[in-house]
């Protein structure tokens, strides 16, 4: 029995010794490659560590830079915030100014509308004035023409007046000559000559041709359509009537062949004399 166990132990020792020798040979064979691999891994590890350190250094540097930038940004933010507050204050001030300017603008617009309405009214008035001026200018032109016509008539009248004055002087010369002849015949030139007064006054009818008053407007003169040809003489009293109404009596003051001038006797007046009224010598 002991021999069997010893034999088994010997065989097992042999097997394990061979296995130990194989593992030791394998280690000796592959340890170079393992070493190179370990060296390479170590080198990679060192490189990685270096990169990590560089990365950390860069991170720290970037962190510092970022902190500096953050501080600068905060400073800028504070400055910007201050500027913003200032801008807000300025905006509020500008808004108040804008409101005031809006009110001014509204007021100016209202004034402008009023001024426009007034201008339109002025335009209408100006148009009317222009039309009136045109009419007045036309009327002035007409009046100038009328003045020229009147001046022409005045010149003609002056010419006629000069002729009448000349004739009057001639007649006065003749009257003087006749007065001299009367005095030579012992006749007083100032003696009133009265014509033959008819014994019976004939009924003669006429009409009032016109009425006027003297310069003092104390007496009314009328012109009638009958004269010396109708046996009307000076100081003859005529009756003026209208239909069946008695108006007044008039005394003849001047006689012409076909007309005469009479003076209304105020004490006999019973109405106003009008053109066309009847005149008669006897009712």
């Amino acid at each position: 029995m002991n021999n069997v166990v010893g034999k088994m132990l010997i065989v097992m020792q042999l097997v394990f010794s061979i296995l130990f020798m194989c593992f030791a040979g394998a280690v000796y064979t592959f340890q170079g490659a393992w070493r190179n691999k370990a060296v390479a891994l170590q080198s990679q590890l060192d490189g990685a560590n270096k990169q990590v350190e560089d990365a950390n250094t860069a991170r720290d540097r970037e962190t510092k830079q970022l902190n500096a930038d953050l501080d600068a940004a905060r400073t800028d933010r504070d400055a910007v915030r201050a500027q913003l507050e200032k801008a807000v204050t300025q905006a509020q001030t500008n808004q108040q100014l804008l409101a005031a300017a809006s009110q001014e603008r509204d007021k100016a617009l209202a004034d402008g509308e009023i001024a426009t309405a007034e201008a339109a009214a002025r335009v209408v008035e100006t148009t009317a004035v222009v039309k009136e001026r045109e009419s007045l200018r036309k009327r002035i032109t007409d009046l100038i023409k009328e003045i020229q016509n009147t001046e022409d008539q005045l010149l003609d009248s002056n010419g006629k007046l000069a002729s009448a004055v000349e004739m009057e002087e001639q007649y006065l010369g003749k009257i003087g000559h006749l007065n001299d002849l009367l005095r030579l015949n012992e006749i007083d030139p100032g003696q009133q000559l009265v014509g033959i007064i008819p014994a019976e006054i004939e009924k003669v009818d006429g009409f009032v041709d016109g009425t006027t008053r003297n310069q003092a407007r104390t007496q009314e003169l009328i012109q009638i359509t009958i004269g010396s040809d109708d046996k009307i003489y000076k100081d003859m009293v005529l009756t003026v009537y209208r239909k069946d109404d008695y108006i007044c009596q008039a005394r003849v003051v001047k006689v012409y062949p076909d007309t005469a001038i009479c003076m209304v006797e105020e004490k006999t007046r019973n109405g106003n004399v009008q053109r066309g009224d009847n005149v008669t010598t006897k009712l």
């Binding site: 010893g6 010997i10 020792q13 010794s17 061979i18 020798m21 030791a24 280690v27």
Partner: protein
Amino acid sequence: MSQQNSDPTIYDGLMFVSLAAVIIGIVFLVMSLGQYGWSGPS
């Protein structure tokens, strides 16, 4: 005194082979340690 059987058996040879394998393995290990600068026990 009893006479003993002194003839080597196969198992004795296996013991020597085993001893040789162990020695060779130790040599391999020492050589491997030598690669890492191991100079042996002082």
